[in-house]
Symmetry: C2
DNA sequence: CTTACTGCAAAGGGTTTGCAACGTA
DNA sequence: TACGTTGCAAACCCTTTGCAGTAAG
């Protein structure tokens, strides 16, 4: 949240809700809570993270509702998934232009950067039909760097 | 196997066996079979793929033995893991120099290429301590291209 | 002969599904 | 009101673990 503007969070949250509504899905309290959660999140969240966060607002929420909505939002393209070393994680897809991320190995926060290797590449076999690519840099963000080096 | 030389397979297989032996591990028939399998494989194998292949030679082999050995070989650095869309996969780590891969979305064969984005990058925040990176290109290899486009 | 490895069976964790009650549109 | 959504419970993978028998070194 630290470097997010309050309006950005609100508008991201509204975007997610609108996207669900546009698909004809009902806007339940749990889904609003989920949208807010991902709008506020700076890094990746595991299903358990999501469950724990949502339980603070909706103590009765169940794991299967979390999974159902994570899957629906992923299929819709609102969320993106990634397997980090300790399992499947989710975050709100960056809606703007194409870019890649630095991912902190400790806090799993992400930092975007603009360099895309596909624009600079030479040497891809011409007969390979490229569909997509994945480029991530792992390491420690400024906040975690000191902690990590002292371990 | 198509573009693998027979000697390469044999030597890769021997490398894996030697690596296990050097660590003091016993060379059982199942492990020899596993080493041969990964030496011959061109793409990624799931635990189930490995289990199915090994069962052809050793009908009595069990899933836990497969998992145990996959884990041991991964921890040793002989195998590398990746999460593709349909789960965890393994392949023999390329022992030579640093490079990246094209991965076929259909047959999951891999094609190495030399371009590494880290050597060409600008714009990484200076205060981010880089540990590792991941760069993969997904698409269709020449053999799968025609099949894929007709679907 | 010693100790690691295996297979079996059972447990474990994460994720999905069937169903009746509920709440949104 | 009607139908999508939820919580519960149970089922379902995939993966790991405990144990006694087996086999490599």
């Amino acid at each position: 949240m630290a470097n997010h503007h309050k309006q950005d969070i609100e508008s991201t949250m509204q975007d997610i809700v609108k996207a669900m509504s546009a698909k004809g899905w009902r806007i339940t309290d749990q889904r609003k809570s989920l949208a807010t959660l991902f709008a506020e999140a700076e890094g990746f969240l595991s299903p358990k993270d999501v469950y724990d966060s949502m339980r603070q607002q909706y103590p009765g929420v169940s794991f299967d509702t979390v999974y159902r909505n994570l899957r629906l939002l992923s299929e819709m393209g609102v969320l993106e998934q990634i397997y980090l070393n300790d399992g499947l994680k989710f975050r709100a897809r960056c809606g703007s232009h194409h870019h890649h991320h630095l991912i902190c190995l400790q806090c799993e926060k992400t930092v975007p950067f603009e360099f895309c290797p596909m624009l600079h590449m030479a040497g891809v076999p011409a007969d390979f039909q490229v569909v997509s690519h994945r480029f991530e840099i792992f390491g420690y963000c400024p906040s975690c760097e000191s902690t990590a080096s002292s371990e």
